[in-house]
């Protein structure tokens, strides 16, 4: 069961609209390495994670990713809410605007709608945790690329916070993978699926 806390994990207060920035940042809302996919990845994987400590970690990180989804939505909203139609046309936002006005929609920067095809839940703790470490690095790379493309300090601060959380999650997943491999049967030197040995 979930409960909503009416606050952002890190503040988002953007003074200047910028449709170009919104159009790349939205990829962390609904793109291939975005926060929605991250949350669904971890919250789905936990069902087949036998170690309750690791299942708990997946719950906690999957929950935090929803808070990050909210932050990205807040950034996109604040960057676009006050745009004029002239700004929308001049800043290359007309193709998004025609479908969504200035609503927030889960899509990649290239316009492709959110797809679960970008995440995996394999039912193998080692496979899944290895995927998670890769996923956190992909999200970190995406935030690095966003930081190369934006120059507003009001946008940079929350994006840097989110980038740092990817690094923390990568560390925790690495430790969780260690916890799982430490418990492997001594005969399982090749680390086959320890959750389905039938």
């Amino acid at each position: 069961m979930w409960e909503y806390e009416k606050r952002l994990q890190f503040p988002v207060r953007i003074k200047h609209p910028d449709a170009r920035a919104a159009k790349v940042i939205i990829t962390q809302y609904g793109g291939p390495d975005g926060e929605l996919g991250a949350s669904l990845r971890y919250l789905s994987q936990r069902f087949s994670m036998p170690d309750p400590r690791v299942a708990g970690l997946l719950t906690d990180i999957g929950t935090e990713e929803l808070a990050h989804l909210e932050m990205i939505g807040a950034i996109v909203h604040q960057l676009t809410a006050d745009l004029t139609v002239e700004e929308i046309k001049a800043q290359g936002f007309a193709d998004y605007f025609v479908d969504h006005t200035v609503g927030v929609y889960p899509q990649a920067a290239g316009g492709f709608p959110f797809t679960a095809a970008a995440l995996a839940s394999k039912g193998d703790p080692i496979t899944d945790l290895s995927e998670d470490m890769g996923a956190e690095q992909k999200a970190r790379t995406t935030y690095d690329n966003i930081l190369r493309l934006v120059d507003d300090p009001d946008v940079i601060a929350p994006i840097r916070f989110l980038r740092e959380r990817e690094i923390v999650h990568y560390q925790r997943f690495g430790e969780a993978l260690g916890m799982v491999t430490d418990k492997l049967d001594r005969k399982n030197v090749y680390a086959f699926n320890p959750a389905f040995r039938r």
Partner: protein, 87 residues
């Protein structure tokens, strides 16, 4: 552990019932924010939930990580996860 299981189950059932009452009343209050009866019930159930959380003897760990029971260390991941059914 076994001696208290009956109580723990009743505690869990009451916790679930009180929490669901709050979930349902919350939606009602979102569209009827001035309903005095609903407000009073929300307050009563909030108080009961707080008491249930404080007196919890369940062995499946803290219910909420912002208000954990730290008396037995980090118990957040103790006990069966809620999706495990009776296993």
């Amino acid at each position: 552990m076994n001696a208290g299981m009956g109580n723990e189950s009743r505690e869990n059932d009451r916790m679930r019932a009180v929490s669901f009452a709050l979930d349902d009343l919350r939606l009602y209050l979102d569209t009827h924010p001035c309903d005095e009866e609903a407000l009073r019930l929300y307050g009563d159930y909030t108080e009961e939930r707080r008491k249930l959380l404080a007196s919890r003897t369940d062995f499946s760990g803290s219910v909420n990580a912002y208000e954990p029971n730290l008396a037995n260390g980090w118990d957040w991941n103790d006990g069966p996860m809620p999706w495990k059914g009776d296993k």
